[in-house]
Subunit: 695 residues, 2 copies
């Protein structure tokens, strides 16, 4: 039904030529209309829901010889006769109306009844001769309010609006309520493995904090209470999305144990008994599933008023109110956002690395969390196991960790140690088997960009793929589908399968900058490295060697590197692969050459096994605000300084960035990863609200 | 990748403030750009694909002390220097350019090379002192054409256009190629059960007719043929949609047996060897799957040019061209379209009915197809088993039968007897078990409508559901998902679960009309029936009885019917259920009261078992142009005429319609169906092309 709602037209009344003319403004626009049969035999009684119209079947109850009618109502009833495509408010100067085919009387009420049937309408029918009516139909009316409301205006609280609750629109002027996937774990009691699951997996409310993650859905019912005994009010949702939501209700109680799971899963409908003492029934709604390939994210809830002339029998729906929610997408955070927490693994023989990251985090005033060996099981690649993001609704924001299908030694860490109160968890599996490209070092996000007039205020997700190569490794379909379905950070696919490990963080990163687009794209560049080395050779430093001070490493000189034709050819190949990505990045992120900085870097390897960094891969850095933790390249020392470090400083320090070169040679580099692969960062959410964009 | 393509910006170049300025018009807009490294050590050779730009890495090859450069090209090369956000076409008055960071030279070529490297560019570098260049970089260029084309302009034939082939847009000004699901069976040879399958299920071309259902994809390659030995050209598609398409190729041959299945399914890439003698390679593409909940309908094909400095080694992509197709949706045909073929089943004791339908079809000049007992196995409900629709591309249109998950005695009829040359077949199953609401008497489509400014030029699909009741029967998810995914006839859900059988054709139909919206909605109306009967009673015909001439039937009089309070209550309930639908139909189809005609009809039954027609359900009619085949109601005879027939004639004949009342009492009515349920119609496609609408 969410889809059906989408396809209906929202908004204000807009009468087309030849269309049925609506009653004048002042009544709710786009009001629901209900056909009511009359009878000259016996009085009819019915309910008019505030904000709706009744269409009286004037012709259907007309006596055989009637040719005209007259209609009168008590003061609480607004009456309109629709006559030749005009609608005339009654009382008008015209007393009697011809009883033509399609003659129609519309009525609306704007005051809630105090008693059942306290307003009425009388239709009198006249024959050719006029004079005395030849028949009369009486309609007794009770006006009630039945309204389902949510935070459609996105203010953080439920308020009544004239917005179309059954539609959901994007943008700064958009409207529509928002639901969070209740994927955190507010009650940290259960610590045993297996029992630690997100709140969305249970149907109990164990803490008020859990309630606060949910969106309120408020049912307002006003009118003579006895009306609700002859009628039934049902809250319901659609079969297709029922397994994606949970609804809790406590009646008038505020005691935790009184919150019952009333809707969602196999429960499609819940009969509400309006309280005698309260006009409002508050329901708490949680999302259970993120948008995905088969789920737009839209979920509709309805309240339906059923009329039963005889109790329990022959129930017919006479009014439905609908509220549509969108499940908030999972959002990634680029390097340019403030870091809130740095993660690193403590494994065998990486004390120096952990200490260096700790020192840098302290400089950046950012807390450090060290994942201990018991939890990482000697898996140091914390960048690859998880990606930190967040979800946001007007009433609540919390971080959510996305657990990759990689599942190395760290596989239990996210659910055991990160999932917790106001820290959510989501995962996707790769039933076809995970490849190296499923590690989240292969999943990054750009800072906000604008591309030929199209705004991406939350940036664009970047993933590595084998495209345009064929039959290579690729990211698992479930992960890719999930990322595309979030909509707000439209993914761009890059070509990373040329790398042995295959992650885009091996050749690109983003750093903050004070000018231009507020960031620079850094790309690994073999040609920049050759240019630098050649320059140093020309300056007479051809005999300066790499990897000085590193035991076990062979120590090629600048001249030896420059003379290595095989290495040069391979790096020309690497350069062309990176160029391919550079072209895509320029096009899809709207970048100019001035937005890109080439960091000197060499790769080696074979075509079939893929490229690996020849020396620590400097672009694979940790970015904490203006503090960069860069893999120490161990380049040739020229004039007392590593010429690679010198070049990188010269490129980045003018942007106000501080470069710290971290020795990761034996602890990460020789294992084919670097600083970025071995760390992870939770960052501050965007100040920009995702619902203000138009995907 | 289709999704990625969608998210990229189509259209013309539109430079934003702060964005990279594109080279001036005249070159292809939104050209692909490729970064090329230069060297002062040795000449560089590369290919420039017609319509793309090369971005020369001027700084990357600059000697250490260079501060300025000069660039010159042969006449076939267009050169631009990008300088402080302006681009200057060379030769210009400025001879030397400062070698600032981000200095960029763009080049394009617009004439295909005759020989490899027949054009060149020279970059000269100058030091502070000026004078003699301190370094020179040579670039040898070969311009080739590599272009993948399809019928993006929707003309019915492949033509080269400047339209963005990688995007697909709706509407009269839209562009983008269209693919048909090859769901017909062009070679009728195999008649044995089980071997009769649509063409989409094989990977062979057995007839030229089969080829004609497919869309052409044309690869154009021009340039020195030797270029294509140092390069590789690959046609490829994306993993995610490869199982939804098939591509056939015969090289230069036109012999059927030379058409090989080269792409689709597990085949993701195909290396093309451009012919020495032909510039064009023609591929034939078939769709295998209709749009559905997990498939937007968009499929992308790419051709990639790979460069390999050493043969077979170190291949890198240097150019990709992409064409996006949309799979044509399945389209339903409303009653207002010209009938082309009427279907009816011949079963035990329905000879009279078949004869009546035959006579009516003859009057309407429409061929009749009688499904014989051997094929229908005594299942007469041909309306419920299938729905006839069509698929359309600019090059081809053919009917497609949608086989319901109902699967009664007629279950094999569609695939055995309807599937054939240029008659397609599609089916959906209901793994959860089919319900009565899955029969296609519960699936109708309105004529074209306009709703508050939103056009539905192909009408809107109508399906019956239990909404807003809960826990009732509903249409199978797979069928509903399929219908929504077609996009062009946005479905509306009605409430039909109150009926015992549960089909919307039990209470509504559409007939053509000469005025207003060119149609009327007919609704079954108990209140209109009571009004008519009361009128006749008042006229003194209270003793006239129903069902005269029918053996075995009880024969209630008008007065007895009017006095039956239980029947009256039940019909008030039925009326309110129909009113609920009337309100939805008015809102979702933009109808006025004058667009609706109430046909007198009574129902009986119980609330839990649902409503059944009390006398033959007149709205359940067969509509063939202006000829209506209406279930004969056997109403009270008044003045020598059935008063129900008289009333219906009085309502419909003024619209120019001819009413034929068909006796279906014992052959269909007592089995809970009527004329519409027992017939089916294939109709002429809309003259409106679906791609001209905006869903």
């Amino acid at each position: 039904m969410a889809r059906k709602q989408q396809q209906q037209q929202p908004g204000t009344v807009h009468t087309q030529p030849g269309e049925h003319p609506r009653v004048p403004q002042g009544l709710a626009s786009m009001a629901q209309q209900r056909r009511v049969q009359l009878s000259t035999q016996r009085p009819t009684s019915t309910v008019c829901v505030l904000g709706t119209e009744l269409s009286l079947d004037i012709c259907g109850s007309a006596p055989k010889d009637a040719v005209a009618f007259h209609v009168q109502g008590t003061p609480g009833v607004k009456l309109y006769v629709v006559h030749e495509t005009h609608s005339v408010k009654l009382p008008s100067l015209v007393g009697r109306w011809p009883l033509a085919a399609g003659a129609e009387v519309l009525l609306a009420m704007d005051t809630i009844s105090k008693d059942v049937g306290d307003e009425k309408v009388r239709v009198s029918y006249f024959g050719e001769s006029g004079g005395v009516p030849i028949g009369r139909a009486m309609l007794y009316l009770t006006c009630v309010e039945v309204s389902l409301d949510a935070d459609t205006s996105r203010s953080g609280a439920v308020s009544r609006t004239l917005l179309d609750k059954a539609s959901w629109t994007w943008g700064p002027d958009g409207h529509g309520a928002i639901l969070l996937v209740n994927c955190d774990r507010d009650e940290p009691r259960a610590r045993a493995p297996g029992s630690r699951t997100p709140d969305s997996l249970d149907t109990a409310i164990r803490s008020y904090a859990d309630l606060k993650d949910m969106s309120q859905l408020v049912l307002r019912t006003r009118g003579p209470r006895t009306i609700f005994t002859g009628h039934r009010l049902v809250l319901h949702t659609d079969y297709s999305n029922a397994h994606r939501v949970g609804v809790f209700y406590s009646g008038n109680s505020v005691a935790l144990e009184d919150y019952k799971h009333v809707l969602g899963g196999l429960k499609l409908a819940y009969t509400i008994k309006p309280s005698r003492h309260q006009d409002e029934s508050i329901f708490y709604v949680e999302g259970l599933a993120f948008p995905d390939v088969d789920f737009s994210g839209l979920v509709a809830f309805h309240v339906t008023l059923l009329e039963s002339p005889e109790k329990g029998l022959l129930e017919t729906p006479i009014f439905t109110d609908t509220v549509v929610f969108r499940v908030a997408p999972w959002i990634m955070t680029p390097n340019t956002l403030t870091p809130l927490e740095v993660f690193v693994c403590s494994v065998k023989n990486n004390e120096g690395f952990v200490a260096a990251v700790r020192a840098m985090a302290e400089n950046a005033k950012c807390p450090l969390t060290v994942c201990p060996p018991l939890e990482n099981r000697q898996d140091r690649w914390i960048q690859d196991e998880v990606e930190f993001g967040y979800i946001q609704a007007p009433h609540k924001t919390f971080p959510v960790v996305f657990d990759s299908p990689r599942d190395g030694g760290l596989m239990d860490f996210p659910i055991k140690s990160i999932l917790g109160p106001d820290f959510g968890y989501v995962a996707r599996q790769a039933p076809e088997g995970a490849s190296g490209l499923d590690s989240f070092g292969n999943l990054e996000v750009s800072p906000p960009v604008s591309v030929q007039g199209k705004e991406y205020p939350l940036g664009r997700i970047l993933i590595g793929s084998s495209f345009p190569r064929f039959g290579g490794r690729r990211m698992a379909k479930a992960v890719k589908d999930f990322l595309f379905a979030q909509q707000v950070q439209a993914p761009v696919e890059l070509f990373s399968d040329w790398l042995h490990v295959g992650h885009i963080d091996e050749f690109l990163t983003f750093v903050p900058a004070p000018d231009r687009k507020a960031f620079r794209l850094l790309l690994a560049s073999p040609s920049a490295c050759y240019q630098l080395l050649k320059e140093k050779q020309e300056e007479g430093f051809g005999e300066a060697a790499m990897f000085e001070g590193l035991q076990k490493a062979s120590k090629p000189t600048i001249s030896e590197i420059l003379a290595n034709e095989e290495l040069r050819k391979f790096n020309a190949y690497v350069q062309s692969c990176i160029n391919w990505n550079r072209d895509i990045l320029k096009r899809c992120l709207g970048l100019a050459e001035q937005d890109i900085i080439d960091l000197p870097q060499l790769f080696h390897g074979k075509v079939d096994s893929g490229a690996e960094a020849f020396f620590p891969d400097m672009v694979n850095m940790l970015v904490l605000g203006k503090h960069l933790g860069i893999p120490k390249p161990f380049g040739p020392v020229v004039g007392g300084q590593c010429c690679l470090e010198g070049k990188v400083r010269a490129l980045l320090e003018p942007l106000g960035l501080t470069c710290t070169f971290i020795d990761d040679f034996y602890s990460y580099h020789v294992l084919l990863g670097e600083v970025h692969c071995g760390t992870n960062v939770r960052r501050k959410p965007f100040s920009f609200k995702w619902w203000h964009m138009v995907p």
